[in-house]
């Protein structure tokens, strides 16, 4: 019992000393945030950039998707064997890629940067 409480006390002392060390670091690296106007400008700028990126990504997606869908429709109506060959090739290349991606995400703990 005495040994246990002695251990606990030593652990508490270590934690307390760490907290004091961290408090001194806080004092040494005091923070003076930029004025509110600078933060507001940052928020507006980042929101504008995010919106622009969203539109750009959407434009890229559709500029690829529409010709691809058109080509597939042409193939399925005009040259069905070629269409099915294309589908098979896509599956052969796509499935290993998908498995690889799933493994990679599982290795990283499936973590997103933002919760």
């Amino acid at each position: 019992m005495t040994v246990r409480s002695d251990e606990t006390k030593r652990e508490d002392d270590t934690i307390q000393a760490m907290k004091e060390t961290w408090a001194r670091l806080d004092d040494a690296f005091a923070v003076e945030p930029a004025p509110l106007s600078a933060w507001t400008a940052l928020v507006r700028e980042r929101k504008r950039l995010a919106k622009r990126k969203l539109w750009r990504d959407l434009a890229i997606l559709w500029s690829i998707a529409i010709p691809a869908m058109g080509l597939m429709l042409l193939l399925v109506t005009g040259m069905p064997p070629l269409f099915w060959m294309f589908q098979a090739a896509a599956a052969v290349a796509g499935i290993p890629w998908l498995v690889g991606e799933i493994k990679r995400i599982a290795r990283s703990g499936g973590r997103r940067t933002t919760p």
């Binding site: 270590t14 000393a17 961290w22 509110l36 940052l42 507006r44 929101k47 995010a50 933002t114």
Partner: protein, 173 residues
């Protein structure tokens, strides 16, 4: 750790000014956490700024189920862990001695103290120092830290226990 803004849903952040004010109020909390986790002022500043940018881009994901500071600290932690993983993959990282030496010099040049305990904390591996700071500086539970770091709470507990034991033995308290 004091947090004047207890709980706010993203719906509660109605204007750019309000979001800016929230981020400004919390910048110091995030920076002070990161400087202890990284033991590197430049890296802590970069990560704190990146955390703020991610928060602006994804603030609609903040649902108010936790403190705003916890949400920001989770983003900062994940950015830091991602960076460590990238550095390991690319085998491009500064040696511990160089980083620790630079941080010691900067702390002293700012009039701070550099004790034996600072040296020990600085020498801890990042994946051990981060949960230690989250637990004993920020006051999170093992479950919350596990969620932030995507590891089991038992692993968090074990890492923290071993870190304290190692420090205690070397420091001889």
């Amino acid at each position: 750790m004091s947090d004047p803004i207890r709980k706010r849903s993203s719906a509660g952040i109605s204007s750019d000014e309000e979001l800016a004010e929230l981020l400004r109020e919390h910048y110091g909390i995030v920076f002070h956490y990161l400087i202890k986790a990284t033991m590197d002022r430049t890296l802590a500043e970069d990560l704190a700024q990146e955390t703020m940018v991610r928060a602006i881009e994804h603030y609609e994901r903040y649902d108010g189920s936790s403190k705003f500071s916890s949400w920001l600290i989770t983003i900062g932690t994940r950015l830091y862990l991602d960076l460590l993983r990238k550095r390991r993959t690319e085998r491009r990282y500064v040696t511990e001695e160089t980083r620790s030496g630079a941080f010691r010099f900067e702390t002293l040049s700012r009039g701070g103290e550099w004790t034996e305990l600072n040296e020990m904390l600085s020498a801890l591996p990042e994946e051990v120092r981060t949960p230690l700071v989250l637990k004993h500086y920020c006051g999170y539970t093992y479950e919350e830290i596990g969620d932030m770091m995507s590891v089991a709470p038992g692993t968090v507990k074990s890492r923290i226990h071993h870190a304290i034991k190692k420090i205690r033995e070397e420091w001889n308290v």
